[in-house]
């Protein structure tokens, strides 16, 4: 085998550092990323990922789909496709959107390489360095590096059990307006939010859409989990309330079919969509034709809804298992959300626990979660954690939560010893029901802005 050509060694740093774009300066790896690398080891029970359970997908269905493509559209599957995506796949997207009460003109849809590409393309289209993006606090950790790479200034709006505080959003918009700044868009995951697990109430959805109209403000509605509802009645999407004037809609097949096929989509007003298409062309020409034909063949079998139902059953049990385990193993000082759908629970611990350090300790017990600070761009969140319940079986969920609970208990006891306030078992408050009957998502103890930097080691 031929040896690779020798690589230069002298002055490696100087050689490359001078070439990096200024935007890569903010794309730093973090302690967390290095810690997360350890979570991938097989002996670790990882409650950290956002993985759907693909093991329940029937292999015979997969075989039938691929056989059909081989027999009927082999050459096409292997070929480039149009940038905006295949018409037949857009028909499948229309079906998925109809299942959540939305109708979108196929002309307004671009099929993307996963939902993540939508976030990237929307930023590419709208964001100049220093522009403001509004997001929830906490926000989707995967959007953080995207926002950073476009050098956006992200302003995060606090949430409670009913999702984003739209009143605070309005206050923030007023403040920004006073500074002569107009946010480019509001990024929100209204249903079963990642990472907080809370859902924007019906009243707030209507108000948010009104605010967008009044202020001519674009919204990017990220809705990966809307169909994964375990209880309660579906709420209208922002897109359906707005009719697609100010709301751009992000959908994906990742959580209802497979993240491996990398298929998502965006619905946006035509002028924005034109720019997004140009951006996509530059990024990757088109989304995988093979993946699009797989979705099409799969949808033609007519059972995609049944599979989503089976996932819903599976995840509901896992969520309940995690909630039971949390009640059993987390100390009374901890609080957590009770999501009515989606993949995540957000737990907040006493202020003196830094969850990045806790993760280092937890990894010694072979269990992992996402530290809360990954979901903030302003240094908050270090007493919170995101816990995923879709990617582990019930035994692992119970054992994983038991282990995390054990290390938290140790730290609580140690803090008590250090402060001479050894804390006895406090009474846990009962879950409160919220206005929309969203069953019991407790008011979120989200860290406030003023908290940042107050603690030792605050950034």
């Amino acid at each position: 085998m031929a040896k690779p050509p020798p690589r230069s060694t002298s002055r490696d740093l100087a050689r490359y550092a001078g070439l990096f774009a200024s935007r890569t300066r903010v794309m730093t790896s973090s302690a967390m990323r290095d810690l997360m690398a350890i979570t991938a080891r097989p002996e670790v029970i990882s409650l950290a990922g956002g993985l759907p359970d693909t093991s329940s997908f029937p292999p015979e269905t997969f075989a039938a789909v691929t056989n059909r493509i081989a027999a009927e559209s082999c050459a096409r599957a292997l070929q480039y496709g149009p940038t905006e995506g295949l018409e037949e796949t857009k028909a499948c997207i229309a079906e998925v959107m109809a299942a959540e009460g939305m109708r979108a003109d196929p002309e307004d849809v671009v099929i993307t390489t996963g939902g993540q590409q939508v976030i990237d393309l929307v930023c590419k289209t709208l964001i100049d360095p220093g522009d403001v993006i509004i997001a929830e606090a906490p926000t989707y950790p995967g959007a953080v590096p995207t926002f950073s790479s476009y050098q956006a200034e992200v302003v995060q709006i606090d949430m409670d059990g009913e999702g984003m505080r739209v009143d605070l959003l309005e206050e923030t918009l007023d403040r920004l307006d006073g500074e002569g700044r107009r946010p480019k868009f509001v990024y929100t995951v209204p249903s079963f939010q990642n990472p907080a697990g809370v859902t924007l109430s019906g009243a707030r959805r209507r108000r948010l859409v009104e605010v967008a109209r009044e202020r001519e403000l674009l919204i990017l509605e990220d809705n990966p989990y809307g169909l994964l509802r375990y209880e309660g009645e579906p709420l209208p999407t922002l897109y359906s309330l707005d009719g697609g004037v100010y709301v751009m809609y992000l959908g994906t097949f990742s959580k209802i079919l497979s993240p491996g096929i990398r298929l998502g989509w965006v619905v946006a007003p035509p002028p924005v969509l034109e720019k997004i298409k140009v951006g996509k062309q530059a990024a990757d020409l088109c989304t995988s034709t093979l993946s699009q034909l797989m979705v099409q063949a799969y949808f033609e079998q007519g059972h995609w809804g049944d599979y989503v139902d089976s996932l819903t059953e599976l995840y509901r049990r896992r969520r309940d298992t995690m909630l039971d385990a949390l009640a059993e193993h987390f100390p009374p000082q901890a609080e957590w959300t009770r999501p009515a759908g989606g993949l995540f629970i957000w737990a907040t611990l006493p202020d003196f626990i830094d969850t990045t350090d806790l993760l280092a300790r937890a990894l010694r017990e072979n269990v992992a979660f996402v530290p809360g600070s990954a979901a903030y761009l302003d240094g908050r969140g270090h007493s919170s954690m995101r816990l995923n319940f879709s990617g582990s079986n019930e035994d692992d969920i119970r054992e994983g939560i038991r282990r995390v609970g054990k290390v938290i208990e140790e730290q609580v006891a140690l803090f008590g010893t250090l402060t001479g306030t050894a804390q006895g078992p406090a009474q846990r408050p009962e879950a409160e029901a919220t206005a929309d009957g969203e069953s019991g998502a407790r008011v979120l103890p989200m860290p406030r802005r003023g908290d940042a930097g107050r603690r030792a080691g605050g950034q």
């Binding site: 040896k3 020798p6 690589r7 060694t9 002298s10 002055r11 490696d12 740093l13 490359y16 550092a17 990096f20 890569t24 300066r25 730093t28 790896s29 973090s30 302690a31 990323r33 290095d34 810690l35 690398a37 350890i38 080891r41 202020d351 003196f352 626990i353 830094d354 350090d357 806790l358 280092a360 300790r361 990894l363 730290q411 140690l414 803090f415 010893t417 250090l418 402060t419 001479g420 603690r455 030792a456 080691g457």
Partner: protein, 315 residues
């Protein structure tokens, strides 16, 4: 030409950095014409080493197990010569509390400190001594785990109220922690190669960021100046102190000594010594060697020669 087992990865929190150090060493070894056996350290370490029968092991591990004497002990048992320091030096250097006690005894300047084990708080009520300590050190106080090689778990306590949470964080990494006087000033690192000091590197954090785990390994977060712009006399005394520390701990092959140049009194204070400094493309030792005209390949070759020249462990 030798058959070289490159030990990297492992379960330490610095696994990723170690993988990068190891990969870079492997490239250099291949260019130098050596046979490389790449070993991601795990449960099969002994079996892999017995199978590979290497002439020498290049230890590119950082943090727990790799840098604290554990792997070195195993290599002694197997009779495989290895790069860098021996067991005792690793044990001493990885333990900041031990290192600092040795330095105090030897008259090497190091910031005033107090060290505690978790049991001191749990069983002996050490918390009651905290106010006295806080008075002696004055704020801000740095709280850090004794053994963590990177800046993970290092916290600043600005007031007494911050101390308990900072201790909880530090105890996440080690059962022994230290509270140290915070030295404000310039951050310097002196790498030592076979007992000789290399040019001083200064780490200049951007945007007043604490020189933390993140910036330590990332291009762009920190600027490194090598050689550091220091008056000749200061640079010399910093290098001398670093070599004294290296000798005191019995380090061999290479090592890196991290210091603060106190802006208040202009004196250098040693914070810690690293028995296996990072060898990534952003690490300080390769930069310092480069500034001294020693390219990365030469550095790797030199470390191998030193390992092979050492008296073979009893087998």
């Amino acid at each position: 030409m030798s058959r070289v087992a490159v030990l990297k990865g492992g379960r330490s929190l610095e696994r990723q950095v170690s993988l990068r150090s190891g990969a870079r060493v492997e490239d250099a070894l291949a260019r130098l014409g050596h046979e490389v056996v790449s070993v991601d350290v795990g449960l099969d370490l002994i079996r892999r080493l017995r199978e590979a029968e290497p002439d020498v092991a290049f230890v590119a591990l950082h943090g727990r197990d790799g840098e604290d004497g554990t792997v070195q002990e195993l290599l002694e048992i197997l009779g495989v010569p290895y790069t860098g320091s021996g067991v005792l030096a690793c044990v001493c250097a990885m333990d900041k509390v031990l290192t600092k006690h040795l330095m105090v005894d030897a008259g090497i300047p190091t910031p005033e400190f107090f060290a505690f084990s978790e049991t001191a708080f749990r069983d002996l009520g050490a918390a009651e001594a905290l106010p006295a300590i806080e008075e002696r050190l004055s704020f801000p106080i740095v709280v850090k785990p004794s053994s963590q090689g990177s800046a993970l778990g290092v916290k600043f306590a600005a007031t007494a109220a911050d101390v308990p949470a900072a201790l909880v964080s530090a105890f996440s990494y080690d059962s022994k922690v230290l509270l140290e006087r915070h030295v404000a000033g310039r951050e310097l690192a002196v790498s030592v190669l076979d007992g000789e000091p290399l040019p001083v590197v200064e780490a200049v954090p951007r945007d007043d960021h604490f020189y933390d785990f993140e910036s330590r390994y990332d291009i762009g977060a920190t600027d490194f100046v090598c050689p550091a712009q220091l008056p000749v006399g200061v640079a010399e005394s910093v290098r001398e102190i670093a070599v004294s520390t290296y000798r005191l701990l019995g380090l061999a092959g290479f090592g890196r000594v991290d210091l603060m140049l106190d802006s208040a009194d202009g004196e250098p204070y040693v914070l810690e010594a690293n028995p296996i400094p990072g060898l990534t493309d952003t690490s300080l030792l390769p930069q310092a060697a480069d500034a001294a005209g020693i390219g990365f390949d030469s550095l790797v070759e030199r470390l191998l020669e030193l390992a092979e020249a050492r008296p073979a462990p009893a087998n």
